[in-house]
């Protein structure tokens, strides 16, 4: 026996956040922020959770980039056009933040003291990567703060939409 979906139930089913692009972005950005907080407090969580959570963190980070793909794709074209200085700065800042994130993640893996040991991989941890990871992970915090400030209007707009 099959039950045919009435128009109203179909409409109701499609009112979830996953059917709205802005709401999908908002939800995944929240997931990203929460995961970022978890991976940023190794003193509280301990190294093992910090390192494994960092591996999982890659997923919401990639989804964040893919969900904002159109914005990134238009960067080169919009950058050469007549843009406001603040928009140009925003573009440069986001690119810098992306590379800093790669920097933190990559140096973190090379400074890993848990994952490789648990996987039985013999990797010598060099103090240089530890220092680089330590310094870059401190730098990324104010960079993220300014990233949030630069996109504050979008965050407010999306939050209002989520409440509706």
């Amino acid at each position: 026996m099959t039950t045919a979906a009435t128009p109203s139930s179909t409409e109701k089913n499609k009112s979830g956040w996953q059917y709205s692009m802005i709401k999908t972005r908002w939800v995944w950005d929240l997931v990203l922020l929460v995961s970022f907080v978890i991976v940023s407090i190794p003193q509280s969580t301990g190294l093992a959770i910090h390192e494994w959570a960092s591996v999982v963190f890659v997923v919401p980070f990639v989804i964040h980039l893919i969900l904002h793909w159109d914005w990134m794709k238009n960067l080169p074209a919009t950058f050469v056009q007549k843009l406001k200085a603040s928009d140009r700065f925003n573009i440069i800042w986001d690119a810098a933040l992306y590379f800093m994130m790669i920097f933190v993640t990559f140096s973190g893996f090379l400074a890993s003291e848990v994952i490789f040991v648990q996987l039985g991989i013999d990797l010598e941890v060099l103090p240089f990567w530890q220092k680089l990871h330590h310094d870059s992970s401190n730098w990324i915090l104010p960079m993220l703060g300014i990233h949030l400030a630069l996109h504050w209007d979008w965050i407010k707009k999306a939050t209002k939409k989520m409440r509706k």
Binding site: Q18, S40, P42, S44, G46, L47, F128, Q130
Partner: protein, 98 residues
């Protein structure tokens, strides 16, 4: 969610390529004099705090603060610059419109 699935492979591939290229470029730093110096002489900092947590004991006497202080630190380091940024840009905008 269709948007996420659309061209996922291509987009993921581009991100992966940028990440791998950046990672390989970063590896080059390991051979600089600066890196060699740090590897030979150390930099005076390590993950003492984290190691202590791994052992199940935080620094003596701070108790539950071991969980709160790192949160306070990252919140301050993130939100203070954000607040300053918003405040300064509002000031600049007000001057422009005045």
């Amino acid at each position: 969610m269709n948007y996420l699935a659309e061209d996922f492979g291509k987009r993921f591939g581009i991100l992966l390529a940028i990440t791998v290229i950046t990672g390989l470029a970063m590896w080059g730093f390991e051979f600089t004099d600066y890196a060699i110096d740090i590897n030979e002489n150390g930099f005076g900092g390590d993950h003492d705090g984290e190691r202590e947590r791994e052992g199940g004991e935080g620094p003596e006497g701070i108790g539950v603060l071991i969980y709160i202080l790192p949160l306070v630190k990252i919140s301050a380091m993130t939100l203070v610059p954000a607040a300053i940024w918003v405040w300064v840009s509002k000031l600049v905008n007000r001057k422009k419109t005045a």
